[in-house]
């Protein structure tokens, strides 16, 4: 009887692993959400940028007189106004340029009362250029007689990285089989649906408020300040809702200091927002590279070594792009058990657009190479690729040559689960046998996997997060956290964790995470870290609050705190789940008792990981994770078109937190990877982007999205929140080589330079069949067998 009368179940119902909606979804679905692109402030001016529109030139003369005089124009700025205000990793960038180094170099900027006036003013600015010979590939930039792009960087040399482990000569000698290929991952770009936008406003104490799309609000201050010549402490960063980021907002880009410089000059708020064409031309790209990779193994299929010699197209300035070797080398050394490794990478300045970070950060490019070479080696050894992968797969407790400690490793489970679910081995044999049979359409199946950091990546001095949690007299919870929301759904994860710990309804949790003057430090949304890091921070803060409440309740109820719990809005007795007192009442009594107390706790969580370090030998993430994708495709051998029929995914997620958000991240991440694999391609000719629109730069659309069969492997990460690992980059990383391997299975051709566009695939198939005069068609394996 009593059991039916009580609201609290005796067994605690957990929210972990359930499907939780994004709290901001109703406002977004009704058009109510005010994105930064929608914002208008009183007195706000519109800022517009004049781009060079040529890749390499000296500015001979610039005349802004007519623009200045146009009614409605409030300020015109050029390179002269910002001469020494250098910013960027190596201080090679400036908001407005005195020399042109790439097509989208910002030459002048205008603030005017309307966009129309601002555009008119740009037309009135006269610039005389003297074009210079350009550098349009890293090979060309590395040549001795190459034109110099920056005076301060002789030989066009930007960042360089190196990692060596083991005796390469001995390993090569012990290798009976070696594959050796050059892969050329290309330029693609983020295509956030909300174009780049910033609104800046200075108060009369010299403090800047900037509304921005940034996904790293705290270091953003440090990076923005030198572009303006102000102290980082004088910047307040506000993050309104954004239309996607995907890594593109992990650095300061010139339109942001431009908005601020115009605001300072005019004393009014200034908004700069890109058109789609400007977005294509002036926002960062994924890093293009030339990867010369060699992998060896024994006759029995045991990996012996892997080398990678990487040349990166730095573009004109140094943002995150040229730093991707930090992750590239982790995959080179840690994607399967590789005893001997030799990795080096050099970034070369060119007059091309420059790269930032992009979901998958270097691992998209490296896995494109490693996962294809695994497939090639399996064929040379003449065993099923699955068996080859299993033979070389790491197990829990193994440590990679760079000291990534694979504490909970579920690679074997991922491989077996995906292979069984898709009937991989049988289909692979069957399709390979049909490869040279008559018929226009060929089916193929391909397997690929990768490893990625899944517990942050300590590339900064701190990988931590601050959390403040407070409760009011009505048991409503506010979480003030550094964790940014860029559409990925950390809002739902934090809400879920608070509700789980404090037994309050999901809708009673409010998040404040968009104002750097209010919320405490966080590194930012990157490195698949936010659920892991912010999840831990939130849980720790919630547990502190819970302990405080249960202690107080225990005194009120004359019980022991260990016997109490919080469930369904009440304090309950653990043993029978009986509701003893409403949580709201406890909080009010705490507040208004003789010795009053409020529930407001703080937490700082720093994951147990080691700083990356100059030698790159460190356990730089608190967790690592694997994913396996198996792609099934149909190839039209006449047109070269690839249709992806199905993708089976098995990913080590540690533990499912919000199942719906997790699925959404995997589906969306995979769609970006599909575009990379099949259709997205920035056509940059002599430094000039030729396809700056969605008609010519093709994203994956709804009809091209294949059915997905998702399998979540729960490895229960000891350090992760409830066992969870970070998840959001692997889906983008693994899919392209899975399709490449399927293409080989179907047709016997390999593509080394993505995307696998119909033209390239059709040409490769044609070339493979061309020597048909000789009779039998040999399956062509690119690379050399030693």
């Amino acid at each position: 009887m009593q059991e039916t009368a009580t609201a609290s179940p005796t067994v605690k119902e957990t929210l972990i692993g359930q499907r939780v909606r994004k709290p901001d979804a109703p406002d977004k679905a009704t058009g109510k959400t005010r994105y930064i692109n929608d914002m208008v402030l009183p007195q706000m001016l519109i800022g517009k940028v004049l781009f060079a529109g040529r890749p390499h030139a000296r500015i001979v003369r610039i005349d802004t007189g007519a623009a200045q005089k146009l009614p409605g124009v409030h300020a015109v700025l050029t390179g002269k106004d910002v001469a020494e205000l250098r910013f960027g990793f190596v201080r090679d960038n400036v908001a407005l340029k005195d020399k042109v180094r790439c097509e989208h170099d910002e030459i002048a900027a205008v603030a005017a009362e309307t966009e129309e006036i601002a555009c008119r003013a740009l037309e009135l600015i006269e610039v005389e250029y003297e074009d210079l010979p350009g550098v349009f590939s890293p090979e060309a930039g590395a040549r001795e007689d190459a034109p110099q792009i920056h005076d301060r960087f002789p030989g066009n040399k930007s960042l360089a990285f190196e990692f060596r482990h083991g005796d390469l000569a001995a390993a090569e000698a012990a290798s009976e089989l070696i594959v050796d290929n050059v892969f050329r991952p290309h330029h693609v770009t983020h295509c956030c649906m909300g174009t780049s936008c910033a609104i800046a406003d200075f108060d009369h104490n010299g403090k800047l408020t900037i509304w921005t799309q940034t996904q790293y609000p705290y270091n953003y201050k440090m990076d923005l300040a030198p572009a303006l010549g102000i102290h980082p402490g004088d910047i307040r960063v506000i993050q309104p809702p954004v239309g996607g980021a995907f890594g593109s907002k992990l650095d300061v880009y010139p339109y942001e200091p431009i908005a601020a410089l115009l605001a300072r000059k005019t004393g009014r708020p200034v908004k700069v927002m890109y058109s789609r064409e400007e977005e294509f031309k002036a926002s960062p790209t994924r890093q293009a590279a030339i990867i010369h990779m060699r992998t060896g193994c024994t006759r029995d299929g045991v990996l012996t070594f892997r080398t990678a010699d990487v040349l990166l197209d730095n573009g004109a300035y140094t943002s995150w792009g040229p730093t991707i070797p930090v992750i590239m080398m982790r995959t080179t050394s840690g994607h399967y058990r590789v005893p001997v490794v030799d990795f080096k990478a050099q970034a070369i300045y060119t007059n091309n657009p420059y790269a930032g970070s992009f979901r998958g950060y270097g691992n998209v490019q490296t896995t494109w190479a490693t996962a294809q070479q695994m497939d090639m080696l399996a064929e040379m050894v003449d065993i099923d690729p699955l068996e080859f992968h299993l033979k070389n797969a790491q197990r829990s407790g193994e440590v990679t040559p760079q000291r990534s400690f694979l504490r909970e490793c579920a690679l074997v489970e991922c491989l077996e689960t995906a292979a069984t679910a898709s009937d991989y081995s049988r289909k692979r044999k069957e399709y390979a046998a049909l490869r040279d049979a008559p018929g226009r359409y060929k089916k193929g199946i391909g397997l690929a996997s990768s490893i990625h950091n899944a517990g942050g990546a300590k590339i900064h001095k701190s990988d931590g997060i601050g959390t403040i949690l407070k409760m009011d007299d009505y048991a409503r919870v506010t979480v003030i956290t550094g964790a940014s929301e860029i559409g990925q759904g950390i809002d739902a994860v934090i809400t879920l964790i608070v509700a789980e710990e404090l037994g309050v309804p999901l809708e009673h949790v409010t998040l404040v995470n968009n104002d750097s003057d209010v919320a405490p430090w966080d590194v930012g949304v990157h490195a698949s870290r936010t659920t892991f890091i912010a999840g831990n921070g939130t849980r720790r803060a919630a547990r502190k609050a819970k302990a405080q409440i249960l202690n107080a309740a225990a005194k009120m109820l004359e019980e022991s705190p260990e016997d109490l719990d919080l469930r369904a809005g009440s304090v309950v007795r653990n043993t029978d789940g009986a509701a003893l007192i409403k949580l709201e009442r406890v909080l009010r009594q705490m507040h208004f008792q003789a010795e009053p107390e409020l529930v407001m706790v703080t937490d700082y969580y720093e994951p147990k990981s080691e700083p990356e370090g100059a030698a790159h030998v460190s356990d730089h993430s608190a967790a690592y994770s694997h994913a396996v994708h198996i792609a099934e495709i149909t190839v039209d051998t006449l047109t070269g078109e690839i249709k992806v029929d199905k993708v089976t995914v098995a990913q080590d997620v540690g533990r499912v937190i919000n199942r719906m958000g997790l699925e959404g991240q995997i589906e969306g991440g995979l769609a970006i990877g599909l575009g990379y694999a099949l259709s997205e391609d920035m056509r940059i000719e002599n430094g000039m982007l030729k396809n700056a629109c969605f008609r010519d730069y093709k994203l994956i659309t709804a009809p091209e999205m294949p059915p997905l069969d998702l399998h979540f492997i729960e490895s229960h990460c000891a350090e992760g929140p409830y066992g969870a690992k970070g998840i959001s980059e692997l889906p983008t990383i693994v899919i392209a080589p899975a399709i490449a391997n399927a293409l080989y299975n179907a047709t016997g051709v390999r593509i080394f330079d993505p995307p696998m566009s119909p033209e390239k695939v059709a040409r490769a198939i044609f070339e493979r069949c061309a020597p048909a005069g000789s009779g039998a068609v040999e399956p062509r394996l690119a690379g050399t067998a030693a």
Partner: protein, 163 residues
């Protein structure tokens, strides 16, 4: 140079509106800049992404391509017009419940297009919905949950997610 204006009258989300618009102005700019209705989004301005989708006389159009003066005498429905005092439109609710909304920037256009497809195609299949949504780009979701939401509205299922 820019200020040749003309007066137009039309129905917007069920209410009569009359205003002066420059002849060169597009419907998207009128909605966003003149009427403050920022639910409808700009993402390309060239008819290539569907973020600006609205209904005109019951058919979906890319409002970034349509001149504002051509709204004269017509009936427009925007994303702001779907919700009723009782709550979200069933299509909006399904998108929320099925996790179809991530950054959400594409969603006003996506939802307008989905609603129109569902209303005009009884028994709409998943494949038909895929084709019908081809003109609406989304960079976040991979469309899977969008299609789940559309399917659920067509079949009247709910999915049991939590608010």
């Amino acid at each position: 140079m820019m200020s040749v204006e003309t007066e137009i009258r039309f129905k917007l989300n069920g209410r009569e509106v009359s205003l002066k618009v420059p002849v060169a102005m597009k419907t998207l700019a009128m909605l966003r800049d003149k009427l403050g209705m920022t639910g409808t989004k700009y993402a390309c301005g060239e008819g290539e992404c569907g973020a600006c989708t609205v209904e005109v006389d019951g058919r979906t159009v890319n409002s970034c391509l349509m001149y504002a003066v051509d709204c004269d005498g017509r009936e427009l429905v925007t994303i702001e017009g779907l919700r009723t005092p009782e709550g979200l439109h069933p299509v909006q609710q399904a998108f929320v419940d099925h996790g179809a909304v991530q950054c959400g920037f594409c969603m006003p256009g996506m939802i307008m297009q989905a609603k129109n497809l569902i209303e005009n195609n009884p028994g709409l299949t998943r494949e038909e919905a895929q084709r019908g949504l081809e003109g609406n780009l989304c960079r976040c979701t991979g469309y899977t949950k969008v299609l789940d939401a559309v399917e659920a509205v067509v079949s009247g299922k709910s999915c049991g997610s939590r608010p």
